[in-house]
C-alpha cells in the first residue's frame, strides 16, 4: 500500500514550487487586453516575468508599483494610484489585475480600498480592476492562480437577467497548463459540437505568432465581455481540483451554474471523465473523431506496453498534474514510485493513496517535499524515469536517469509550451515520448523495433555478473 511522507526539514533545498503572484499573472494573461500590476518591490515582478519568458519564449509584460524603502514605510497607496493611472493612460487595457506580494501584504496595504479610491477619482475609467491576494508565504504558485479564479468568479460575472437565461456555453477552467494543452481541450470541445468559455485562455497570448504589424494587444484570450456572461453558462468544468475547483463552486453557489470538478485529463480514464462530463451536461454524443482518437490511444498503449510495463518512475510537481499523470503512468504499466509535491495538503495525499490503490500501484507520496529530498530517495532506490519540470535536470544529470519534461517551468528546452499532455492526443504523444526515451537509453543496438538489452534488466535483488566483471545491479 502507498504511504504518505511529510518532509520534515526547515530549509527547502531545490524547491519544486515558486510563489503566488506568478500564478495570478499567468491567469491574467488569458484575458484579452488585460494587464497586471504587481504591487510590491520590483523583484517580485521582474523575476516572474523572466521566468515566464524563459518558459513561453514570448514577451511577458507586467507592471510593478516599484515600492522602495521610503514608500514601504508610508505604505504603497500613492505608488499604486500612480501605477493605475500610468497603465490606464499608456495602454488603455480592457482590464487591470492588481496582485499583491509578500511585501505589500506584510505592510498591510488595502489594495481594494486603493482601487475604489482610484475609481472614485476617475469615474470615466470603467474597465474592471480586480485585486487578487497573492502573498507567497501562503501556499504555492498554484494558490495565486486559484485565488485569481476565485476572485474572478466572485466579481466579474453579471447575474442572469431572468431565470434560465443562458449563453449556451460551458465554462471550462483548464488550470495551470500550457497553451498547447488549452488548444487540445478546445479541440475536444469543438469536436463535441460545444462552445467553451475558457477561464482563462492564454493559448494564443502566450504562444503567439509573428504578425506585421504587431497587434496592440496580443491576439487571443477570453474577452471581458465573455467573463461578464460566464454566469449564464450551462455548467462549469474545472479540470484541476486545486486550481479553479473553488471558482467552479462559486459559480454554482452564486449563479446556479452546476460545478463539475474533475482530475486533470491526462491519460485514458481521466480524459474519458472529461468527455463523459461533456456528454452529461449537454446530451451530445461522443463524435466519431474523438472515438477514433480514443481508440488510437488504446492502440498506442498496447503497442508500447512491453517496453514500459514495470518501469519505476519518479513524479514531482503540482498536485493536480500529479493526480492526472499518475493515471497515465499506471495505464502504461509503470509504477509511480515517488510522487512528490511541495504542497502540504493532507486530503490530497490521502486521495492519492486511494487512487494508487485503485490503480494497483504502490507509491511513496511525499508532501511538503523538495527536489533534494527526491534526489536522496532516487539515490537510495533508483528509478528508470523522472517526470517533471526542468528543475529536475540536476537529478537527471547526476544519476543519469532520463527526465521527461512537463509542467512549469520547462526552461531548458524549446517549444514544450506548445505541446499537449491532455486529452487522447496529449496522452498518445506522452506515451510515444516515454517509450522512445526508454529506447534511446536501453537500446544500444536496436535491430529494428525491439530492444536488445544487455544483461538482466528490472529490479532484481539477484546479483548477476557479466563476463567482463561488471554487475548489473541497480542503475
Amino acid at each position: 500500500m502507498s504511504c504518505v511522507t511529510l518532509q520534515d526539514r526547515a530549509v527547502a533545498i531545490n524547491p519544486t514550487r515558486s510563489c503566488a503572484p506568478i500564478g495570478a499573472m499567468l491567469a491574467n494573461y488569458g484575458i484579452h487586453g488585460a494587464i497586471t500590476i504587481n504591487h510590491g518591490s520590483q523583484g517580485c515582478a521582474t523575476y516572474p516575468r523572466h521566468q515566464m519568458a524563459r518558459h513561453f519564449r514570448e514577451p511577458v509584460e507586467v507592471a510593478t508599483t516599484s515600492l522602495t524603502e521610503k514608500t514601504t514605510v508610508y505604505g504603497g497607496r500613492n505608488n499604486l494610484l500612480a501605477a493605475l493611472k500610468n497603465i490606464w493612460e499608456r495602454f488603455h487595457p480592457t482590464m487591470i489585475m492588481v496582485c499583491s506580494t509578500c511585501l505589500s501584504e506584510t505592510i498591510g496595504d488595502d489594495i481594494p480600498g486603493v482601487i475604489d479610491e482610484f475609481k472614485e477619482k476617475n469615474p470615466d475609467i470603467t474597465i474592471p480592476i480586480m485585486s487578487v491576494k497573492t502573498p507567497s508565504y501562503i501556499g504555492t504558485h498554484t494558490t495565486g492562480f486559484d485565488n485569481f479564479l476565485t476572485e474572478l468568479a466572485n466579481t466579474m460575472p453579471e447575474r442572469r437577467k431572468k431565470k434560465g437565461e443562458t449563453n449556451g456555453k460551458i465554462n471550462i477552467i483548464p488550470g495551470w497548463v500550457n497553451p498547447g494543452d488549452i488548444r487540445e481541450l478546445k479541440h475536444i470541445v469543438r469536436e463535441m459540437g460545444l462552445h467553451g468559455l475558457w477561464l482563462t485562455d492564454y493559448s494564443e497570448t502566450l504562444d503567439g505568432g509573428y504578425y506585421e504589424p504587431r497587434p496592440h494587444f496580443a491576439r487571443g484570450g477570453t474577452t471581458v465581455e465573455d467573463l461578464r456572461s460566464s454566469a449564464k453558462s450551462l455548467a462549469t468544468i474545472a479540470l484541476q481540483r486545486h486550481i479553479g475547483g473553488e471558482a467552479a463552486r462559486v459559480y454554482e453557489r452564486r449563479h446556479n451554474v452546476p460545478a463539475h470538478i474533475l482530475p486533470m485529463p491526462i491519460g485514458l480514464a481521466n480524459t474519458d471523465a472529461f468527455v463523459e462530463t461533456l456528454t452529461e451536461i449537454t446530451d451530445h454524443a461522443i463524435p466519431e473523431a474523438l472515438q477514433v482518437e480514443r481508440a488510437r490511444l488504446l492502440d498506442a498503449l498496447v503497442d508500447t506496453h512491453m517496453f514500459t510495463t514495470g518501469l519505476r518512475v519518479a513524479l514531482y510537481g503540482d498536485p493536480d498534474l500529479l493526480e492526472g499523470l499518475t493515471g497515465l503512468v499506471a495505464e502504461m504499466g509503470m509504477t509511480p514510485a515517488y510522487i512528490l509535491t511541495a504542497d502540504e495538503r493532507k486530503p490530497w495525499a490521502e486521495r492519492m493513496v486511494e487512487l494508487t490503490q485503485e490503480l494497483g500501484v504502490e507509491s511513496e507520496i511525499i508532501i511538503k517535499g523538495d527536489l533534494h529530498e527526491l534526489h536522496k530517495r532516487i539515490k537510495a532506490n533508483p528509478v528508470d524515469l523522472i517526470i517533471g519540470h526542468s528543475k529536475g535536470k540536476f537529478i537527471s544529470d547526476a544519476e543519469k536517469i532520463p527526465l521527461i519534461r512537463l509542467g512549469f517551468p520547462v526552461e531548458d528546452r524549446f517549444g514544450y509550451h506548445r505541446r499537449s499532455i491532455v486529452g487522447y492526443n496529449g496522452a498518445i504523444s506522452l506515451v510515444d515520448e516515454i517509450t522512445n526515451v526508454v529506447f534511446e537509453r536501453k537500446a544500444t543496438a536496436v535491430v529494428s523495433n525491439t530492444l536488445l538489452e544487455i544483461g538482466v534488466e528490472g529490479h532484481t535483488s539477484i546479483p548477476f555478473t557479466f563476463t567482463n566483471g561488471s554487475t548489473n545491479g541497480k542503475h
Partner: protein, 479 residues
C-alpha cells in the same frame, strides 16, 4: 527628445537625452544637463529592473562556488534566482542548488529567526563540504524585523564556518545596483582578510567585477598569466570562499565592472592600501589597454606588447572578415550598466554605430561615459520601460538590439535582430577571442534569412473570428 508613449508621463523626459549637433546635451524635458539616473522607477512602469536582493544574490554572491546560497524569505525569491544566470565555475554546486528558509504565514507573524537558524544548520548538515553559508535577506523578513545578523553569529558558532548575512532586502534600493553595494560591503566586512596566508604576493592581482558569464574568464585569464601574473581572487566568478578571504593579499585590483564592484576595491584601498586600476576587458583597444595598464604597474610593458601583438595576429583576419559584414549597422545597446559604455568602442571597431544606449541601473558616471562616446544624433535613456523600448525599436529602427532575455522576445515580435548581451547566446564575449564570438553572433543575428522571410512574407494578424467553436476571441486593433 520626447517619446509618444510618454505623453502622459512628462517626468520620463528627464531620463532621456540626445547628443545634439556640436556635442551638446538635449534632455527630454528641454533642459540641457545630464539625465537623471539611479532614482526610483515610475510606479506602473514595466521596468526591466530587479530588486536589491537580485543584485546581491544573483550577481555578487551567487557566483561563489562553494558557499551554500540560502535565501531568508518566502519561496519565490529563491526559486526565481536559481540557476539561470550562467556565472560558471569549475564546479557547479552554486548553479545546481538553492536553499531557502521558506517563510510561511506563521513565521511572518511570529518571526522567522528560529527557522533561519535551523535552516542554516540543516543546510550545512546536508552539504558539510561547503565552505560558508551565504544568507540573503528579502523584503518580508526585513519588514518583520528578523535579526539575521544575530542568527548568523549564533549559527557560525554552531557550524564552525563563516555565515555571511547580506542585508539585501529587495526594496532597499531603486534597483539591483544597491544589491551590488550590499554584496561588496558584506563580503569585505565578513570575509576579506580573515585568512593571512604566507608567501610572496608581489605579482598577484584580483580581477574585480567579472562574473564569468559563460566562462568569460577563459578569454582573458591566460593573458594576465602570460604576463607572469597570478590571479588570486576573481570577484566574483569561478571563485571560492577561501579566495575571497585572502583577497587583500593581491598587489593590484584590476576593476572590470566599475558599477557593481568598485566598492570593494575602494574599501580595500582604504583599509589595505591596495592600488586599483579601471579596465575594460571587451574589444581590441580596451583589452589591449587593460593589459598595458596592468603590465605598467608591474613593469612588464615589453611582455605586454608581445602578448598583444601575438593575440591580435590570431584574431585580426577574423575581425576583418566580420567587420566587412557588420560595418555601417546601427545598434541599440541596453545593458544593466557599464557594458553599455564598454561596448560602444567594441562596436566601432567592428564598424558599427551605437545609436541608442540605455542602462537598467547605471549611475551618473555611467551616463557620462556613455555620453562621451556616442556620436551626435545618438540617444541615451535611463531605465527604459517596455513601451519606450518598443518605440525605440519601431521608430528609431536600429539594425541590431543588444539586450537581455526579457527583451529578446519583444525584439523578435517586432522583427528586430537581437543579441543577448546579458547571458550571451553562445559566448563568451570578453577578451580578444571572445570578441570574435561576439562578432560572429552579431553577424548571425543580422544576416539570418528569417528577416528576409519576415519582410517578404509576414502577414497582418487575421481578423479574429468569434468564439463560436471555442477558438480565440474577438479583439480590436487598438492602434
Amino acid at each position: 527628445m520626447q517619446f509618444k508613449c510618454n505623453e502622459t508621463l512628462p517626468e520620463r523626459g528627464t531620463h532621456i537625452a540626445l547628443k545634439a549637433a556640436g556635442g551638446g546635451c538635449q534632455r527630454g524635458d528641454g533642459t540641457s544637463c545630464g539625465i537623471v539616473s539611479n532614482s526610483a522607477t515610475t510606479p506602473g512602469d514595466m521596468t526591466e529592473r530587479g530588486c536589491t536582493y537580485a543584485g546581491c544574490r544573483g550577481v555578487v554572491g551567487g557566483p561563489v562556488k562553494d558557499a551554500i546560497q540560502l535565501t531568508h524569505g518566502p519561496i519565490g525569491c529563491a526559486f526565481f534566482s536559481w540557476g539561470y544566470r550562467p556565472h560558471l565555475a569549475d564546479t557547479d554546486f552554486h548553479m545546481k542548488y538553492t536553499f531557502v528558509s521558506d517563510m510561511k504565514e506563521t513565521n511572518i507573524v511570529f518571526g522567522g529567526e528560529k527557522k533561519l537558524l535551523q535552516s542554516i544548520i540543516e543546510a550545512n548538515r546536508e552539504f558539510p563540504e561547503a565552505k560558508a553559508v551565504f544568507v540573503y535577506n528579502t523584503c518580508a523578513t526585513a519588514l518583520i524585523g528578523d535579526d539575521g545578523r544575530d542568527v548568523a553569529k549564533q549559527a557560525e558558532e554552531i557550524i564552525g564556518k563563516p555565515v555571511v548575512f547580506f542585508e539585501c532586502e529587495g526594496f532597499k534600493g531603486v534597483s539591483q545596483s544597491m544589491g551590488h553595494h550590499v554584496g561588496n560591503e558584506t563580503i569585505f566586512r565578513q570575509l576579506v582578510g580573515s585568512i593571512e596566508p604566507e608567501g610572496d604576493f608581489s605579482r598577484t592581482i584580483n580581477i574585480v567585477g567579472d562574473y564569468n558569464i559563460k566562462n568569460d574568464i577563459r578569454t582573458f585569464e591566460y593573458l594576465f598569466e602570460a604576463l607572469g601574473l597570478k590571479i588570486i581572487t576573481r570577484f566574483t566568478g569561478n571563485v571560492g570562499v577561501d579566495e575571497l578571504r585572502i583577497m587583500h593579499k593581491a598587489a593590484l585590483n584590476v576593476i572590470h565592472c566599475q558599477r557593481s564592484a568598485t566598492y570593494i576595491a575602494d574599501m580595500m584601498h582604504d583599509k589595505y592600501g591596495t592600488p586599483a586600476i579601471n579596465v575594460t576587458l571587451w574589444g581590441i583597444k580596451h583589452m589591449s589597454q587593460a593589459l598595458r595598464d596592468t603590465a605598467k604597474f608591474f613593469g612588464l610593458e615589453a611582455e605586454a606588447e608581445e602578448i598583444i601583438e601575438r593575440e591580435l595576429a590570431k584574431i585580426q583576419p577574423k575581425i576583418d572578415y566580420y567587420r566587412e559584414r557588420l560595418k555601417g549597422k546601427t545598434v541599440f545597446i541596453y545593458q544593466g550598466g557599464p557594458r553599455t559604455w564598454h561596448w560602444i568602442e567594441l562596436l566601432r571597431e567592428l564598424g558599427m554605430e551605437t545609436m541608442t544606449a540605455a542602462t537598467t541601473f547605471g549611475h551618473d558616471d555611467d551616463y557620462e561615459k556613455i555620453f562621451e562616446q556616442i556620436s551626435e544624433g545618438a540617444m541615451m535613456i535611463d531605465n527604459p520601460n517596455v513601451p519606450e523600448i518598443e518605440e525605440i525599436l519601431t521608430k528609431r529602427r536600429p539594425d541590431l538590439f543588444i539586450s537581455g532575455n526579457k527583451e529578446k522576445y519583444l525584439a523578435y515580435k517586432l522583427g528586430v535582430p537581437f543579441v543577448n548581451g546579458h547571458t550571451y547566446d553562445t559566448g563568451p564575449y570578453a577578451g580578444f577571442i571572445g570578441m570574435v564570438n561576439f562578432a560572429r553572433d552579431m553577424d548571425k543575428a543580422l544576416h539570418a534569412p528569417i528577416w528576409g522571410t519576415l519582410r517578404n512574407r509576414a502577414r497582418p494578424a487575421p481578423a479574429a473570428h468569434h468564439s463560436a467553436h471555442g477558438f480565440a476571441h474577438g479583439f480590436e486593433e487598438a492602434d
